[in-house]
């Protein structure tokens, strides 16, 4: 039930009620409600759950974590 996946925002329709947009999940585009991510921009990654974006991905945080793993791997090799 709480399954949610990251996708990239391709279009935003702020005139529609509620705010909707096209989001790409690995190339598959879906209509996603963007009402709960009011500051979202085209190109942002969002986390989508049952057709709704519930957060905008903090890409800096995501990359920071991955860089940390890479660093650990390097020092332990």
């Amino acid at each position: 039930m709480c399954l949610a996946l990251p996708g990239k925002v391709m279009t935003i329709d702020r005139l529609s009620k509620p705010t909707m947009g096209k989001v790409s999940f690995g190339g598959i585009r879906k209509d996603i409600c963007l009402e709960y991510v009011p500051d979202v921009k085209i190109g942002d990654y969002i986390i989508a759950h049952v057709g709704f974006a519930i957060s905008t991905m903090d890409e800096e945080e995501a990359n920071k974590t991955l860089e940390l793993f890479d660093e650990i791997n390097r020092t332990e090799d």
Binding site: M1, C2, L3, A4, L5, P6, K8, K17, P18, F25, G26, C33, E35, Y36, V37, P38, Y45, I47, H49, V50, G51, F52, I54, S55, M57, D58, E59, E61, A62, T65, L66, F69, I72, N73, E76
Partner: protein, 376 residues
């Protein structure tokens, strides 16, 4: 896919597992709350990567599993009426009520539909003015805002033929109920990342302090889970009991404020019965008075049923992390996904379904889990 594949990277997983092995000096029992996390753990064999003295027990985080049978029977009663379209998520339709499930109602000619989004139910109501459209709304705090928006849309569009059966439940009250049980073996918690995406994690701080257990907000991919386990175990070894956030790419401390606001505008908190567990105070959501016209339980006159669960099924103990699915005598014999006795065998988040599907059973681990005493 970006931001998924990286978190399924085997090299990262082995690296973190190595760090866990280097950190652990005591046996520890952790609970992951969310059924989605349980599926990741069983599917990717995460327990195989962990040292023997770390035990993962599975929590109640399967909304479909804890929806009371009486409510499913009510939905079946409503869906069986001729002028009704009943819509819900696919998982909900396969959960057994006292005599059948909603898919059987569909097979018998009922108009039962599987939804992708709660907004689809609003669209169905708009396109079918001659029908009553009922959305069977289930889910934790992750899903509740999506139902809230559907109700607000129905109100804005003045839809008279739309209503919901509201079975939304809240995680922190259930966590409190589990931790205050004398049977609790939980020494550390992996909190559900998507619930916290909506709600933030401040409400877990008093829980961590009161019960002196570390709580780590954790994501859903294998590397996320391993990192969540590492952060929890590190706290335990250092004698800390804080709330930390592993899933910072999605979760902020305050959560999604606009989603919380609409939830609060549409729902009140209420006591709720959890299937297999019992009544938990302040653990459910109900429509506020001003949205009562959208309450299907008020709109439809449905008979109250009293329900007895199968005496063979130990779903309640499984949902509370007291036992694991392979310990159930009916597991895989009298109870399978095709012929389930209890909801955890059907739902894509149910622990029994995960063990049945991915089939990882290590008898020696099972015994270790049973023998281990909690820290109290």
């Amino acid at each position: 896919m970006r931001y998924i594949d990286e978190y399924r990277n085997g090299q990262y997983a082995r690296t973190i597992a190595g760090r866990i092995r280097a950190t652990v000096t005591h046996p520890w029992t952790l609970m992951e709350i969310c059924g989605g996390q349980t599926h990741t753990i069983v599917k990717y064999g995460i327990e195989e990567l962990l040292p023997e003295n770390i035990t993962l027990i599975h929590g109640p985080g399967c909304p479909v599993c804890v929806t009371p049978t009486e409510l499913i029977d009510k939905a079946i009663g409503i869906a069986s009426q001729s002028d009704v379209i009943l819509a819900s998520f696919g998982d909900m339709l396969r959960v057994p009520g006292s005599s059948k499930d909603l898919l059987t109602v569909k097979a018998e000619g009922g108009n039962v539909r599987i939804l992708y989004s709660p907004l689809d139910a609003v669209a169905i109501a708009r396109h079918n003015p001659g029908k009553e459209v009922v959305f069977f709304a289930v889910g934790f705090e992750t899903t509740a805002p999506t139902t809230a928006l559907a109700v607000r849309e129905a109100a804005r569009l003045r839809l008279r033929n739309f209503s919901i059966i509201c079975s939304h439940v809240l995680v922190p009250p259930a966590v409190l109920a589990l931790l205050s049980s004398p049977h609790s073996r939980i020494q550390g918690l992996l909190a559900a990342g998507h619930v916290c995406t909506v709600m933030g994690y401040e409400e877990y701080v008093p829980i961590a302090t009161t019960y002196r257990i570390p709580i780590v907000v954790t994501g859903f991919e294998p590397v996320d889970i391993l990192q969540g386990v590492y952060m929890t175990v590190k706290q335990l070894e250092e004698g800390r009991s804080e709330v930390e956030n592993q899933y910072a790419r999605s979760v902020q401390r305050e959560g999604n404020v606009s989603a919380q606001k609409l939830m609060q505008a549409v729902f009140d908190v209420t006591d709720r019965k959890w299937r297999g567990i019992g009544m938990i105070p302040n653990s459910g959501l109900m429509l506020k008075n001003e949205f009562a016209e959208f309450d299907a339980e008020l709109r439809f006159d449905t008979a109250r049923t009293t329900v007895e669960e199968s005496p063979l099924c130990i779903a309640g103990e499984i949902l509370q992390g007291m036992r694991k699915p392979p310990e159930c005598p009916a597991f895989g014999s009298q109870c399978t996904p095709e012929r389930p006795l209890g909801a955890p065998m059907v739902s894509s988040e149910g622990a029994c379904a995960a063990y049945y599907r991915y089939g990882t059973v290590k008898p020696e681990r099972k015994e270790a889990g049973l023998l281990q005493e909690g820290r109290g």
